[in-house]
């Protein structure tokens, strides 16, 4: 017997490797190292980096996108993608602005936002889950459609005049430098962690992403789960839209343009397999912080945004390529 398989099924261990070995081999571990390196680099590069208020301001660079990224992570794990998220943000913001003109108060604005976000998500979900169309194409279509509707409604105008109480979501502080957005981001991260890793819903999402047919045969209601994921993505886009609109204090149809690709980058950097099936919320959480720190650190050096994007692009490719290159090199050494 040359293989390492135990001769007897009862000798088979639960797990091949212990928790420590699994952690060291994990993607999150690599990301944490990257995060620490970037943090260290930033402290060296700019004297303004280590300042509580500055760090607090810097969180706005990523919190709203990261909220959507968590939902996007689930969508991508299930083997689909939602490119319409930024357009949902625009449409939600527009409908809130519209409602403000009609004199709605803050609580109703929130309800309207969530409802519109969920409706957009349900539209995507219907096309993808119920009609079985490829999500990448459907959501390229709704990307144009949703923002297009915002343009039809708003044209060259802008909505402003949000109630004062509305400003809290994007501008409020819970305690000292801790912003409301930051707290919300943490809570959402925790909820998504539990949802993906600790519930049977999360397990179904993973199974679907790996093999939708086998998942169906295993009694998972695949269309329903996918539909719910798109609705979830719509709702998270709505929550991000509330924060962003509150932070800007106004709505234009061009709000959040181009976010979809940044969010996908964040998700992929977080170790979510773009082909579906695997990934962790912790990874996305760290990736969001890494991207926030990179942009903030470079911003302090007055590096133009487009040059920053070179860094994020390189970061994305190297972080994905690194483990592959290392694995190849190790194999070559072993031979």
């Amino acid at each position: 017997m040359n293989s390492q398989y135990p001769n007897n099924a009862s000798e088979m261990p639960d797990r091949l490797h212990g928790p420590l070995a699994r952690m060291l081999a994990s993607w999150e571990f690599l990301l944490i190292i990257v995060a620490v390196l970037i943090f260290f680099f930033n402290t060296q590069a700019s004297p303004y980096f280590l300042d509580a208020w500055n760090l607090s301001d810097a969180t706005f660079n990523f919190t709203e996108k990261a909220m959507i990224a968590f939902a996007m992570a689930l969508v991508i794990i299930s083997g689909e993608i939602d490119l319409s998220v930024a357009s949902i943000v625009a449409l939600v913001s527009t409908s809130m602005g519209f409602a403000v003109q009609l004199g709605f108060d803050t609580p109703s604005l929130i309800l309207i936002a969530i409802a519109v976000g969920a409706a957009c998500g349900a539209f995507n979900g219907f096309l993808v889950a119920t009609m079985g169309l490829p999500s990448i194409v459907v959501t390229i279509g709704t990307l144009s459609l949703f923002r297009g509707i915002a343009y039809i409604v708003l044209g060259d105008k802008a909505y402003s005049g949000y109630p004062d109480s509305f400003a809290f979501f994007g501008q409020g502080y819970v305690w000292w430098v801790i912003t409301f957005e930051m707290v919300l981001f943490m809570i959402i991260a925790a909820i998504f962690y539990v949802l993906l890793h600790r519930t049977s819903f999360g397990r179904s999402v993973k199974a679907i992403g790996n093999n939708p047919t086998a998942a169906l045969f295993a009694g998972i209601r695949v269309p329903r789960v996918k539909f719910m994921l798109f609705v979830l993505s719509g709702i998270m886009s709505a929550i991000a839209a509330i924060c962003l609109t509150s932070r800007l204090g106004s709505t234009r149809p061009s709000i959040a343009v181009g976010w979809e690709l940044e969010i996908v980058t964040m998700v992929v950097l977080g170790g979510i397999n773009i082909l579906g099936g695997s990934g962790t919320i912790l990874g996305v959480f760290i990736a969001a912080i890494v991207m926030g720190m990179v942009t903030f650190g470079l911003g302090l050096l007055n590096v133009p945004g487009i040059v920053m994007s070179i860094f994020t692009g390189l970061l994305l490719i190297t972080v994905i390529a690194l483990p592959i290159v290392i694995r190849r090199a190790r194999q070559r050494v072993a031979n």
Partner: protein, 308 residues
């Protein structure tokens, strides 16, 4: 820090010739003042969110003053308010911010003068009048909309001039080009395209030349001599106007410096010095105009095309 004052010039987007010229003016002012460091920055696409990120990093660097040309007059207000609350002097120039988000706004010229100028340039070339159309930048650009509004107020003074359409090229050259083509197709009698945007005027001139209608359909509006020189030569455009962006950057820097130093305050009716350009007087809404727009045509363009 060697310099005792840091002034940030925040523009709509990096890489636009007009703003690069303004940055030159800002540097000129800094040299003149001494001890001033200019941070020339901005997003790479013309979005409010991009500018907010830039503003946040400027706040973090504790600059002394921010002079901004805004992509959105409302959306920047919270971020700029925060800057002011951290003791930073904030003014807007070129494209304004709502009054609560800045201490004062510097118009390159008065809006009514510009509005009048862009239609006057067309009317001067069309003694018999005719159909004209407006090709603007993005539909959300504050200054564009105000000029078009001002223009529409005075258009009645020019007999026979008839504004048949207003379209938007979003400051993208391909879209502006296509819109210009569309204008020529849907209005066969079109006599002039008024493009109060530096991107749109170039694209419109190109579209008119390509259609073989240079001289027939006149392009005018606001443009940079360096970008328009070729089109004046080809005859697609006879004249266009612009204020001097170098002066504008210079003036914005001078005003920021004076406000930040406490040598002037921004009050209604008050005056703030602008170095070699004299001083600006503030209106009730705390804005002021730098100077008249300047008209360029075949007679003077060669003197300016290598400058900006």
């Amino acid at each position: 820090q060697a310099d005792d004052m840091r002034i940030a010039i925040v523009v709509k987007a990096l890489g636009i010739g007009f703003f690069e010229a303004a940055a030159k003016g800002a540097e000129e002012a800094a040299t003149e003042l001494g001890g001033v460091e200019i941070i020339y920055t901005g997003p790479t696409d013309t979005t409010a969110e991009g500018q907010i990120e830039v503003i946040n990093s400027l706040i973090a660097q504790k600059v002394d003053a921010i002079a901004i040309s805004a992509n959105d007059q409302d959306a920047l207000v919270p971020a700029l308010k925060k800057a002011m609350s951290r003791g930073i002097t904030v003014i807007s120039w070129d494209s304004g911010v709502a009054p609560e988000g800045r201490q004062m706004h510097l118009n390159p010229s008065s809006n009514s003068l510009i509005g009048n100028m862009i239609v006057k340039m067309a009317a001067d070339q069309l003694p018999e009048g005719g159909d004209v159309a407006v090709l603007s930048a993005s539909a959300t650009a504050t200054n564009q909309n105000i000029w078009i509004e001002e223009m529409n107020k005075v258009v009645g003074n020019y007999t026979g001039i008839n504004v048949v359409a207003t379209v938007y090229g979003d400051d993208l050259s391909d879209k502006s080009y296509r819109e210009a083509q569309g204008l020529m197709a849907s209005h066969p009698d079109l006599k002039a395209i008024i493009a109060p945007s530096t991107v749109a005027i170039v694209a419109a001139s190109q579209a008119v030349s390509d259609a073989g209608r240079a001289g027939e359909v006149l392009v005018t509006g606001l443009g940079l001599p360096s970008e328009m020189a070729g089109h004046v030569e080809s005859g697609a455009s006879k004249s266009f106007a612009i204020w001097n962006p170098i002066d504008l950057g210079y003036a914005a820097t001078m005003i920021s410096y004076n406000l930040a130093k406490g040598e002037a305050t921004a009050d209604a009716g008050g005056e703030i010095g602008m170095g070699r350009l004299g001083s600006v007087t503030l209106s009730d809404t705390l804005d002021g105009a730098m100077s008249d727009p300047f008209v360029y045509d075949a007679s003077n363009i060669n003197d300016f095309k290598d400058i900006f």
